[in-house]
């Protein structure tokens, strides 16, 4: 029974390994990530956002929505902590 329970784990691990072997190499200039979005950010980033730092341009401008989500995740984590550890006599 324990062997049976481990079977899905093994299958998933093998599937993951097979899928990972299919990834593009890190920094491969022909991979989809490097041929669509990245050149646009690098070439147009300064003109479109006016941010001298490319990381800032992506983090705060192109993906500002994502950063907003991150902020709200942190806020929610704080609220959860307060609600869990709040003293009873409040």
């Amino acid at each position: 029974m324990r062997l049976l329970a481990g079977l899905p784990f093994v299958v998933a691990a093998v599937l993951l390994c097979v899928a990972a072997s299919d990834f593009a190499a890190v920094g491969d200039p022909a991979s989809p990530a490097s041929t669509h979005v990245s050149p646009r950010y690098i070439e147009q980033g300064y003109g479109e956002t006016g941010a001298a730092n490319l990381v800032t341009a992506v983090l705060a401008d192109y993906r500002g929505y994502d950063t907003l989500g991150e902020t709200i995740v942190i806020f929610t984590a704080g609220l959860a902590c307060v609600f869990i550890f709040r003293r009873r006599d409040l």
Partner: protein, 145 residues
């Protein structure tokens, strides 16, 4: 932290370090536009300065942020971020489009101001939340959170 356990060495060291931590936090937040840094990192540095005062001085921390104020800071930060995003929408741009803010500056500068605004919002949220978490974990039963 019910009782103060800081000795004179801890006390003097924390008094010496805390202003520099706050200054460095402000630097990291405001200069994040050009160099590594930003709201998350700067907010953590602010929060560590507050937590340091709590660790050394306990309940008697002179400039400790009360938990309710920390919660308010966290809300204000997330709200500031959201408000700047909605301002872009209000001035006929897209959500979080800082270029649309009606400021008498060049476009790149307006965008820089918008970015600084959201970084400050993030920093406030991170500072408030980390202080809250510390208080929630280390608080005493009779302390309000």
């Amino acid at each position: 932290m019910s009782t103060q356990f800081g000795t004179s060495v801890l006390d003097a060291a924390s008094r010496l370090i805390a202003p520099f931590m706050l200054m460095f936090g402000a630097y990291v937040v405001t200069h994040g536009h050009y160099s590594p840094g930003g709201g998350f990192q700067g907010g953590v540095i602010f929060a560590v300065a507050v937590i340091l005062a709590r660790l050394v001085h306990g309940r008697d921390a002179r400039w400790g942020i009360r938990p309710r104020l920390a919660l308010g800071l966290a809300c204000a930060g997330a709200g500031l971020y959201m408000a700047i995003g909605l301002l872009g929408l209000l001035f006929r741009g897209n959500f979080l489009d800082y270029g649309m803010l009606p400021l008498p500056l060049k476009l790149a500068e307006v965008r820089a101001v918008g970015t600084l605004g959201i970084e400050i919002g993030v920093a406030l949220t991170v500072t408030g939340v980390l202080t809250l978490i510390f208080d929630a974990l280390a608080g005493m039963p009779d302390e309000e959170i």
